[in-house]
């Protein structure tokens, strides 16, 4: 059976830790490995940080929405903002590409999300904002390997 959780919060940096810990706690019932849990937290942190600093340009009035669902040993996470959108998604995904070098951004967020999840999808428009979705298999890994 599918199990779904929804979260929404203001675009404040102090909410990043809350968001990644909430998703990780929700995922804990799948009994993930420590490494998988750390990767999941990192991917959530990247998507939420992007929504705050890029989507809403750090305006705390913006709202970040997270939906996480668990089904058949896999977690599906959707992080959405109603911010300014991404002009060129292919370019945004390139390692080291950033539109905020003055903020000391490394341009590694999407690259990290791609490496730390099993499937990453990005949808964006300059009128409605950005939806980042990723899936990660967390359960049964050891069983599947043998």
């Amino acid at each position: 059976m599918q199990n779904v959780m929804n979260l929404s919060f203001n675009a404040l940096g102090e909410n990043e830790a809350f968001a990644r810990v909430a998703v990780a706690s929700f995922a804990a019932k799948l009994n993930p490995t420590m490494d998988d849990l750390a990767e999941l937290k990192t991917a959530v942190s990247e998507a939420v940080t992007n929504a705050i600093i890029h989507g809403y340009d750090s305006n705390p009035a913006g709202i970040v929405y997270i939906t996480a669902s668990i089904d058949d040993g896999e977690i599906d996470v959707v992080v959405r903002d109603e911010g300014k959108g991404i002009h060129n998604i292919d370019q945004a995904k390139e390692p080291l590409f950033t539109t905020k070098p003055e903020m000391e951004r490394a341009g590694m967020g999407f690259t990290i999300m791609e490496h730390f999840t099993d499937l990453l999808e990005i949808e964006s428009s300059t009128s409605s904002g950005t939806v980042v979705r990723f899936k990660k298999r967390l359960a049964d890994k050891r069983v599947r390997c043998v």
Binding site: E16, D35, E46
Partner: protein
């Protein structure tokens, strides 16, 4: 939560981070390390991340930013005590190619102090 401390030994500054480094704390780390570097005229910077349980790309940005400053003055950056997750971030972003990596702070100090003895 993130806490930080720093210790100097000659021209070497060692920064120790405890907790989680994300966007919320990255500006604080930047300001702290920059002021320590200025006050101590730091040439070589060591990041001791043994007690850092979590980091995301915001941390990479701070480390890279300080690398640029130190590198401009002819110094070096060493990172030590990486856990699995943090190590993968450094690998993905290619930072292993431009910085030194050691297991412990003592290893890093030994190498740096060894080389500065040779110079004098």
């Amino acid at each position: 939560m993130l806490t930080m401390t720093a210790e100097t030994s000659g021209k070497i500054l060692c920064v120790r981070l405890t907790g989680e480094l994300d966007h919320y704390y990255s500006e604080q780390v930047k300001e702290f390390v920059e002021s320590e570097m200025e006050a101590n005229q730091t040439q070589h910077l060591i990041w001791n991340l043994e007690q850092l349980s979590f980091m995301d790309s915001s941390g990479l940005g701070v480390v890279l930013g300080r690398y640029r400053q130190v590198n401009e003055m002819g110094g070096s950056v060493t990172v030590c005590g990486l856990n699995t997750q943090v190590k993968r971030l450094f690998q993905l972003s290619g930072l292993f190619k431009i910085m030194y990596f050691e297991k412990t702070e003592q290893d890093a100090l030994r190498r740096l102090e060894g080389s500065s003895c040779k110079m004098s």
